[in-house]
């Protein structure tokens, strides 16, 4: 009996140690990434990088910055997020208020799962095909549309999860007062899920701004600040990728700085969404 107990405690200790060790390894690896990007990117980061567009000799190490890519990425992600919002909000509301528990709702959710799983490079290839068919060239508009497709399932899923947490009684109360389904959707459900919408938008924005594979085909790349929807536009992930591909160490340094800028934007968005969701959810009835 004594021996058996010892074996049990030994087993317990071994596996607890293993689990703790694995957790430490993963946490360290993930922390290591942030440190690497910070250490490599910070020395190369300066004011000029943030405020200037590339000059003629930028890609062999001359003066300039990546303002074109920063602005381009913000335009692309903001446009894609707004476009995706226009679609995903009615979808989420319809699934909850109009088609709760129907076969059609299940089908829409299934196709959302399918869309969620499609790799962004496939969206890029599809967007490229679409643009060829329409006779468009690589442009801000093409990038925005493709990013909206990438972000649509992310956003809808996030909203769908929030909308389910709304107590059913709240809708019953609204119906009992004689409001229609549309009024319930817009005036009760919409307000209840407002923090969820903001979180979903920021989540999708973060995903969109970091996505390189889909804009590679559809948005192109340019050294100028975007002025029109039909012109090509630069983006931060591609700026990192292209600058890293050059053989000049100075330019590679700037790629690290660009990666740091991108990471900081993502961090900002991620923390911001938590903060906003916390602030807004004070008014939500649970």
């Amino acid at each position: 009996m004594k021996k058996r107990l010892n074996r049990q405690t030994l087993e317990e200790a071994i596996f607890k140690g293993l689990a703790g060790g694995a957790f430490l390894i993963m946490a360290a690896a993930l922390f290591f990434i942030l440190v690497t990007v910070l250490v490599k990117g910070l020395p190369a980061l300066n004011w000029q990088m943030l405020t200037q567009v590339p000059t003629a000799g930028y890609y062999v190490g001359k003066e300039g910055g990546i303002l074109n890519a920063i602005l381009g990425s913000l335009y692309l992600a903001a446009g894609g997020t707004l476009l995706a919002l226009l679609l995903s909000l009615p979808i989420a509301l319809y699934l909850e208020v109009y088609a709760r528990g129907t076969r059609w709702a299940n089908m829409v959710r299934l196709s959302m799962d399918v869309l969620w799983g499609i790799p962004s490079i496939v969206y890029g290839a599809f967007g490229f095909t679409l643009m060829l068919a329409l006779g468009m060239r690589a442009s801000l508009l093409g990038g925005i549309i493709t990013l909206a497709l990438v972000e649509l399932p992310i956003m809808t899923r996030a909203m769908d999860e929030v909308i389910r947490l709304i107590p059913f009684e709240l809708k019953e109360v609204s119906y009992a007062l004689g409001s229609t389904r549309l009024e319930t959707a817009m005036k009760v459900v919409f307000r209840q899920m407002l923090p969820g919408i903001v979180t979903a938008m920021l989540l999708a924005f973060g995903r969109g701004i970091g996505d390189a594979a889909s804009v590679l085909f559809t948005a192109g790349y340019t050294d100028r600040v975007p002025t029109s929807l039909l012109r090509p536009v630069a983006s931060l992930p591609l700026a990192v990728f292209f600058q890293l591909g050059t053989p000049y160490p100075e330019v590679q340094q700037r790629a690290y700085a660009a990666a740091l800028i991108l990471t900081l934007i993502i961090m900002f968005v991620s923390l911001g969404s938590r903060w906003i969701a916390g602030r807004l959810s004070q008014n939500v009835i649970k």
Binding site: E11, G21, T36, G117, P119, A125, L182, L216, F241
Partner: protein, 339 residues
């Protein structure tokens, strides 16, 4: 599931039929503005939901149409099993690329799955609530970090580590096994791609596996502990069997993420065509990297664009199948636990 897949295939017709039905059954006439708003609002919202269902079909059909020229010129087995990729001579064999994708994904999962599951167990069963409260935002943040940043990290940290330490050491100890023999001096290899991918999918697998383990009722843990089981025995015989389907789904989710990942892998995996990988230190050329690297020149060579769109189609089908399976399993588990 079969009927649901069929339903997706027929959805445009179905949705039209449903709309017709809606029209004919609602005989009562609207007199007030509110009633009209309600009706048109419903229709508008409904059309928004047609969009995702139709989009699945449209993407599939569009890629299939673009792939057709090469499907007419060559047989499917010739394409999928062909080993030579020479677009200028009209040779389009996907086999090395498919193998490249499989190798990198396999290495990533072998590295990631044990570590992630043990981490999830630690977070769910052993750790203090404050650790979880700290790790959750970090995991969310890491899941959101762009793949190109992971790629930069891979080039800065993983590739040199593989080149200078891992490849020489493993080559010395286990070089007689062809899986670990190394004749690639650069470090841009399957192993580098696998390590970067493993770290990329880790936040996803850990957080999904954690959620699934939390759905196991606490009463079951207490019952097990009350009859004298140790904590590990409780995990091993009570929590794990309950959570198993969800854990499988978490891993499959990670797998499909890893397969479709483009930029991070592209930057560290070497991208050498026409060579079947034999060891984890060989370079490879996965499907997404093939598409991303060649889109610029594909319009100038006959059948080249069709071949690349075919690659996108193959990738999409494989990834979507895995993803839907895992999504269906996960949805059922999380619904059953009442979340």
């Amino acid at each position: 599931m079969c009927s649901e897949v069929l339903a997706v295939a027929y959805s445009p017709f179905l949705s039209w039929a449903m709309l017709m039905k809606q029209k004919t059954t609602q005989k009562d006439v609207c007199y007030t503005m509110r009633c009209h708003k309600e009706r048109w609002g419903g229709r508008l919202f409904f059309f928004a939901t047609v969009m995702p269902v139709a989009l699945v079909l449209i993407i599939f059909v569009a890629l299939l149409l673009r792939t057709r020229p090469i499907l007419e010129a060559k047989s499917i087995s010739e394409l999928l099993l062909g080993q030579v990729w020479l677009p200028f001579q009209g040779e389009f064999g996907f086999f090395p690329f498919i193998m490249g994708t499989l190798w990198v994904t396999a290495v990533a999962l072998i590295l990631a799955v044990p570590l992630c599951l043990l981490s999830a167990i630690y977070l769910s069963e052993y750790s203090r609530p404050s650790t979880v409260a700290l790790m959750k935002p970090v995991l969310d943040l890491l899941a959101g970090i762009p793949s190109v940043v992971y790629g930069v990290w891979g080039m800065l940290a993983v590739v040199p580590a593989v080149q200078k330490f891992i490849a020489p050491l493993l080559g010395k100890w286990l070089g007689s096994i062809s899986l670990f023999s190394s004749d690639n001096p650069t470090g841009f290899s399957i192993l580098s791609g696998g390590i970067v991918l493993a770290v990329m999918v880790a936040p996803v697998i850990i957080s999904v596996a954690y959620e699934v383990m939390r759905t196991v009722p606490f009463g079951m843990r207490e019952a097990s502990l009350a009859v004298g089981a140790t904590q590990w025995q409780t995990i091993r015989y009570v929590v794990m069997p309950q959570a198993m389907p969800g854990i499988v789904a978490a891993v499959v989710l990670g797998l499909s993420r890893a397969m479709g990942e483009t930029m991070a892998v592209l930057m560290v995996v070497g991208n050498v065509a026409n060579k079947l990988p034999r060891s984890i230190f060989d370079p490879a050329y996965p499907l997404p990297a093939l598409i991303a690297n060649n889109y610029g020149e594909m319009m100038s060579i006959p059948l080249y664009d069709a071949a690349l769109m075919g690659a996108a189609l193959v990738l999409m089908l494989v990834v979507v199948i895995f993803n839907v399976i895992s999504a269906l399993i996960l949805r059922q588990i999380l619904r059953r636990s009442g979340q």
